[in-house]
């Protein structure tokens, strides 16, 4: 009896095991066979050898429904190369690319943020685009910028999102302010006046959540860059002995000390920040131009405008405006690097790039593109003019472990705000120390 049950059990176990592996082999085969059939279908249609590129991005969700698919389908019509759109939640895209690169499951073409480029390039996850472009005799002058590491391009910004300052005109009016502030002193005074008249509101807002410390880049450094300052010198950290940097830190701290900054800053994300503005609780906010549409949609009655970030006293030069970009790169292990480069060149071609820029409410990454913003909000074109009068800048792009640098800056800044660090010089010296470790 025992033997029989033993035999039965071991047989059952074997059966289960073989079922498992059988089905998994089937499924694995099924997976690739469905892709093969996709290729076969297009093969049947075109009669030639069809390649399918996987494009890993988060853009589809942000663009009007179906628009990215249409752009990719046009590419397929022109070149017989199929584009398979894959998407991940934005917050996890970086982690997924890193994991995919390590395990060999990375897509052919990847959407990249400027702050990830250096590390992925050094790890050998993304391909050298300079060589690919040379192979195609591509004229790199038509690119507004390329993100390079060690002199080779690894990422091309497709569209740029500028970070102007949004102004809540109703709050300003309630405090009797009729003119937009142009200098830091005027800005601070306006904030104080607004706060006095509207205790539930705040003058300015910044998001310092450790989750995604881009507030340092977008909100804090904007002050520095708008006044022609730099945090790097020759690509290396230069935070100490940097008068403008010290003044910026002290200025932002003075805003906190005056009580005009929205509470909850240290756990606030960019989305929280925008919603606070939408609800009319914030007078000034440095935020992505991409949110223009969101603000208009969610609160059509809000009376607001955009302006350039006020400049430091005594600075009369051109203003740098913070830009974040949707960048694109090619996986180092891609089986079709030439086709991938072709797709990138297509997205960077003036017409397509202009189209994308309009759809995304962004500025084009192609130097030759002329987007038709006529149907866009007038604030958008207003901001575009401000942007063109100055220059786009983001020193966090293309440097090692950007996110971590922002985080350590944020931590030291918060210690300074708390009073545990006594002076801006001390704080900046600490940050400089930590940053230098990353640049080794």
């Amino acid at each position: 009896m025992n033997f029989h049950t033993c035999a039965k059990k071991s047989f059952a176990a074997l059966l289960v095991a073989s079922l498992v592996f059988g089905i998994s082999a089937c499924q694995g085969g099924g997976g690739t066979s469905s892709e093969a059939s996709e290729g076969a279908a297009s093969q049947a249609a075109s009669g030639g050898k069809a390649v399918t590129l996987e494009f890993q991005q988060w853009w589809e969700e942000e663009l009007p429904s179906g628009s990215l698919r249409k752009i990719c389908d046009q590419f397929t019509k022109d070149t017989n190369i199929n584009i398979k759109l894959l998407s991940n939640p934005y917050a996890d895209t970086k982690t997924q690319i890193a994991a995919g690169a390590a395990a060999g499951t990375m897509a052919d073409v990847v959407g990249l943020d400027g702050s990830w480029v250096y590390d992925f390039a050094k790890q050998g996850s993304i391909a050298n685009l300079s060589d690919l472009m040379k192979q195609d005799n591509y004229d790199t002058a038509q690119l507004a910028s390329q993100i390079q590491v060690d002199g080779k391009a690894y990422m091309i910004p497709v569209v740029n999102f500028a970070y102007p300052m949004y102004v809540n005109l109703d709050l300003l009016k309630s405090a009797g302010i009729s003119e937009l502030p142009k200098t830091w002193a005027e800005f601070k005074d306006d904030c104080v006046a607004v706060k006095k008249k509207n205790p539930q509101a705040s003058g300015w807002i910044i998001q310092l959540s450790d989750n995604s410390p881009s507030g340092i880049q977008n909100c804090l450094m904007s002050w520095l860059w708008a006044s022609g300052g730099n945090m790097l010198n020759n690509g290396k950290p230069s935070l100490t002995n940097n008068e403008k940097m010290t003044k910026t830190v002290d200025f932002v701290k003075s805003l906190f000390d005056a009580g005009v900054v929205a509470s909850g800053a240290t756990s606030m994300t960019e989305a929280d920040m925008t919603e606070n503005f939408i609800n009319g609780r914030v007078a000034f906010m440095t935020d992505s131009l991409a949110h223009l549409v969101t603000i208009k949609k969610e609160n059509p009655k809000l009376n607001f405008t955009t302006m350039g970030v006020p400049k430091m006293e005594g600075y009369t030069g051109k203003s740098g405006m913070d830009v974040a970009n949707w960048g694109i790169g090619v996986s180092a292990n891609s089986e079709h690097p030439r086709e991938a480069m072709k797709f990138i060149e297509y997205l960077m071609s003036p017409e397509v790039n202009a189209q994308l820029a309009v759809l995304a409410n962004a500025f084009p990454g192609s130097a030759k593109a002329e987007p038709d913003y006529s149907k866009a909000d007038k604030l958008f074109s207003q901001t575009y003019d401000i942007y063109k009068a100055g220059y786009g800048i983001n020193e966090f792009t293309g440097i090692p472990t950007s996110e971590d640098l922002m985080r350590s800056y944020s931590k030291q800044f918060q210690l300074y705000l708390k009073g545990e660090i006594k002076s801006a010089d001390e704080m900046l010296a600490n940050v400089q120390n930590e940053w230098e470790k990353a640049f080794q």
Partner: protein, 343 residues
Amino acid sequence: MGKSISIKPSQTVKAKTKGRCENALPRSKKVRAIQVPEENASSIRHENNRWQRLKKKCEPYFYILPTSLLMVLLLILPIVMVICYSFFNNVIIEKSPSFVGFSNYLSILTDSEFANAIWNTLHFVCISVVAHLILGMLFAMLLNSSYLKRSTKTVFRVIYVLPWVFTASVIAILWKLMFDPNGVINYLIQAVAGPGIGHIEWLSSTSLALHAVTFINIWAGYPFYMISILAGLQGISYDLYEASALDGANMPQTFFRITVPQLKPILISLVMLDFVWTIQQFALIWMTTAGGPINATNTLSTYIYKQAFSKYQYSMASASSVIVLIVCTLIAIFYVRHQKASE
């Protein structure tokens, strides 16, 4: 064949003895020697005995075979890889990492941020586990009470199990909205205590953040205890309660002298599992404070995440993970020894 004759009696004998230990090798031999005196087929019987002894010995292993296979293939293998990573430098980000022995461990153990993470984790885990236990027990007892109608219990059982039904991300986002300085919790507090109390920064202040996050975790995790304890309560024999009521025991006495001892094995398992799991809690903390204002809520899981995917120091992350693994293994060994002793 002498086989059938020799099996049945030994089975009966085994059944008669209140056998706890099935390692019955010496016993069955003894029994067979007494019960079945046969001379002729002794050699065949020897073969049969040995074969049956082997089968008996292997029997328990057959039951655990599928599970063990699965775990070894899919879990032990990656864990071994992680342990290997911890002894190399710049794993994954460089094509040929170099062997550095224990230096990663040394760097981690001397990192003040790691020490801070351990302290926060201990605080987070211990308070969570204790609160889970108390709440779970309280709710389970409430839902098991004979003072309530069956329909009432059904309705409240569903309400109490609600926190379990949602993903960690959603719970984090929801509580982040509620704990917002302009959120509903501050609104309720102001409604009670007046507007003078201002907008409390639950998740953004270094003093409150860890407590807020712990509170969220308590809310999210107690149903696990409640359900397991409820199931355990069903298994406590009614006779025990009857007997104690006859002896005139009141409620606290009944609770501490009957309910708790009967539930003890389950409770110990729950506490130990929850301890190990709460150390891993990541999504909840990441999406509310991500390690918090100035590392106030930086626990081991967020520390390791930042090492791996922000600093790209996979070897460091692996070393930290191995340290966590060692600590939990010690706890597991302790638990298993305790189980063995109580058997």
